[in-house]
């Protein structure tokens, strides 16, 4: 096992899949010659050539629509949207087309494609380089949505996504790229889509999170342990299809749950998790399910004071977790 950064793990995942399967190719803005604006595909152009690492025009609908067509005709495209904030022009292709190909043909067609998009805040990206989109797309039946939080999961989920016969929206947290490091197993290390992961066991309360918040929640769990509160940390990893069994299991185990995400509060994933727990684990609850989320404002502004006010961090999570512990 080697320690890698989150972005290295992603790059490796793409490289390995492209080496292993000639039908896999990458298409997106700046992914070729430049290696991606974050260098996520650095080196792939040189290794696989311009036919398999395609610099697309500045047209998101095109990127996704072409990927759909290629997937129809036997390929496994990885379409990159440069920032999740720019995915809107491709909404029609993603929601109306990609998500529905299989259902509308009663299984005749399926699209083994991946749409990668860097998301999340904390990089002074302001309103249009910081957004969370998992709830928007998680809502659409027919799409799979994943959001890894560790390098091992990033690689394992990307590979699983490429091999999956359905369209997968792969959300990679841009702040985690170089901030989050971890052990990545040798070999495929496939992580199943649809399976959450208990990253830390505990018994007094549960922290449910994904993406960058996972890292913060693990920090918080350490701090809580020092104060005698044993926190379990459940990493969702997959937003859709969400691992209901794991969510219910942790809720039953501790009776106290705090769901954490940087996305806006209203109709965010925490609302869904909360509803699942209410419906299935109500009798085991010792406290109402709590949510700690981003506020309902359009993404985080540029100025650091405002960005900090928007973003969650370990201190904010710790305070809320203590509130839950004391309930």
């Amino acid at each position: 096992m080697a320690v890698k950064t989150y972005i290295e793990a992603i790059r490796e995942g793409m490289d390995e899949e492209m080496a292993h399967d000639p039908s896999v190719f990458l298409i997106g803005e700046d992914v070729g010659q430049r290696g991606g604006v974050f260098l996520a595909s650095d080196g792939l152009y040189k290794k696989y050539g311009e036919d398999r690492v395609i610099d697309s025009p500045l047209a998101e609908s095109c990127i996704v629509g072409v990927a759909i067509g290629a997937a129809v005709n036997g390929m496994r495209p990885i379409a990159e949207i440069q920032f999740a904030d720019f995915i809107a022009p491709a909404m029609n292709q993603i929601i109306e087309e990609a998500a529905r190909f299989c259902y509308r043909t009663a299984g005749d067609f399926n699209l083994p494609m991946v749409i990668r998009a860097p998301w999340g805040g904390g990089v002074h990206g302001a309103l249009y380089h910081s957004q969370s989109i998992e709830a928007t797309f998680g809502h659409i039946p027919g799409l799979k949505v994943v959001a890894p939080g560790t390098p091992a999961d990033a690689k394992g989920l990307l590979k699983a996504a490429v091999r999956d016969p359905d369209p997968v929206l792969y959300l990679e947290h841009k702040r985690a790229y170089r901030l989050v490091k971890g052990e990545v197993p040798d070999g495929d290390g496939l992580v199943p889509i649809g399976k959450a992961d208990v990253k830390r066991e505990g018994k007094d309360l549960s922290l449910i999170a994904y993406g960058l918040m996972l890292t913060y929640c693990l920090e918080v769990a350490e701090k809580l342990a020092a104060e005698g509160v044993s926190a379990e940390v459940l990493d969702l990893r997959t937003i859709k299809p969400i691992d209901e069994a794991a969510i219910v299991a942790t809720a039953r185990k501790t009776g106290k749950v705090l769901v954490v995400h940087e996305d806006n509060r209203f109709a965010g994933i925490a609302a869904e998790v909360s509803a699942i727990i209410m419906e299935t684990a109500f009798d085991a609850l010792d406290a109402p399910v709590m949510r700690l989320t981003g506020p309902d404002v359009p993404a985080m502004p540029f100025n650091h004071v405002l960005e900090d006010a928007f973003m969650l961090n370990a201190e904010k999570i710790l305070a809320k977790a203590k509130e839950l512990a004391a309930y």
Binding site: E227, G228, A284, D286
Partner: protein, 423 residues
């Protein structure tokens, strides 16, 4: 920064032991809010904060004994009173956990603003689904539930509280009564009868009384005591006593003193039955029954044999006060080796009390009534007479010992004079 020192909790008290810190560093503290519980050889007391602010530092750990005047904590004074937050239940007169238990984490928990629950009793009785499931699973009775302290917001009984309780449940049940439980429902009226639901205290008393009568062969004997000297003496000193001590000098501490002397003379009454042998207790811990709203509670004057009448008076007064305010601690109600009961306040002249196991006896002091009696020399006089009714465990002792004990008590009381030291 303000320094909090070990207070003098009673005259002649020179030191105190920190029993339990009710606040942790970082907590907001209101003026007069309970800060720490202190045990002395006479009085267990809750020490209030002398000012409002934030508790900065605890100087003396729980279990440590320090002399009066020692700095025990530092409070950072807040300018303008701290915003009132609903206080955690520890300050509100619940039976607190025994000191030995205290390894449970105490988090400096800011109370969430979402908690809109009103009075703490309301929050106590609102049981979460997880708690209800545990109650069912472990067959926790209402009585037991009443004894669980809620560590959650607003006094809520949390899942952890119940789990901790279940873990400790192996301990012998305290035979000394229950704290008041405010959860009374409206009685169900059904035609010709009214059914009054059982409070936890009632349940507890019922179970204890039944157990006592089923296991202890009760015998009963009575001595008549001429209390005239005591009455006279008390009449003389009660005002100055009140002025000096701030509390009334009732007959109880005087009689308790007599009982203590009687127990010293006949130690088999300060004992417990066991199959291996009668256990004679070294200390005389006297349970003094106090009547409260829906029942009886018996706080304990520990090592009563070491106390003066005044000391007993203070101790009993304090215990009674706290009993009625539901502020007794676990040590307050544990460890009695003999019990005295005072039904006489209600005018009864003969009472048959039920022994509190594992004690060997219980003494009821009935009303002091003026009667005409025949004195030595066959003169008739009006004297203040009181019956002392002793119930005793006939396994442990026989009528002879019982009678000798009563004789000892009677003689002490009848021989009362100003010579008897109050202090």
């Amino acid at each position: 920064m303000a320094s909090v020192k070990m207070p003098q909790l009673g005259e002649s008290i020179t030191e105190g032991t920190i029993s339990k810190w009710l606040k942790q560093p970082g907590d907001q503290v209101k003026k007069y809010e309970g800060l720490v519980e202190v045990i002395t050889d006479k009085v267990n007391a809750e020490v209030p904060a002398p000012l409002a602010g934030v508790l900065k530092e605890i100087k003396v750990k729980e279990g440590t004994t320090v002399t009066v005047g020692t700095e025990i904590a530092v409070i950072e004074e807040s300018v303008g009173a701290a915003a009132p937050t609903p206080t955690l239940p520890r300050e509100r007169g619940r039976v607190t956990e025994p000191v030995a238990q205290e390894s449970a984490p105490s988090i400096a928990a800011p109370v969430p603003e979402e908690v809109k629950s009103g009075g703490s009793t309301e929050s106590r009785t609102r049981l979460s689904p997880a708690v209800r499931a545990l109650i069912e699973e472990h067959h926790i009775t209402d009585a037991e539930l009443g004894r669980i302290q809620g560590s959650g917001v607003g006094g809520r009984i949390s899942k952890k509280d119940v789990e901790d309780f279940v873990g400790r449940r192996a301990q012998p049940v305290s035979a000394n009564g229950e704290q008041r439980q405010a959860a009374a429902e409206a009685p169900a009226v059904a035609g010709a009868e009214t059914r009054v639901p059982l409070t936890p205290m009632r349940r507890s008393i019922a179970s204890n009384m039944l157990k006592s009568k089923q296991t202890i062969p009760h015998a009963w004997t009575v001595a008549e005591v001429d209390m005239t000297n005591v009455v006279r003496f008390r009449q003389q000193v009660k005002d100055s006593f009140k002025q000096r001590e701030g509390i009334d000098l009732t007959f109880v501490p005087i009689i308790v003193k007599a009982v203590v002397e009687g127990l010293k003379a006949v130690p088999v009454l300060n004992a417990s039955w066991s199959d291996d042998g009668v256990v004679l207790h070294k200390d005389i811990n006297l349970g003094v029954a106090v009547s409260v709203d829906d029942g009886l509670i018996v706080p304990v004057v520990h090592q009563a044999d070491r106390m003066s009448i005044a000391g007993l008076a203070k101790s009993i007064d304090d215990l009674a006060r706290r009993a009625r305010a539901a502020k007794l601690t676990i040590p307050d109600v544990q460890g009695a080796t003999f019990t005295v009961n005072n039904p006489g306040t209600f005018g009864t002249i003969l009472s048959y009390s039920i022994i509190a196991p594992p004690q060997a006896g219980i003494l009821a002091m009935d009303a002091i009534v003026k009667r005409s009696v025949v004195l030595d020399g066959d003169a008739i006089a009006i004297r203040s007479m009181m019956n002392l009714c002793l119930s005793f465990d006939h396994r442990v002792l026989d009528g002879v010992s019982a009678a000798r004990f009563l004789q000892g008590v009677r003689r002490w009381l009848e021989g009362f004079s100003e010579q008897v030291p109050l202090y």
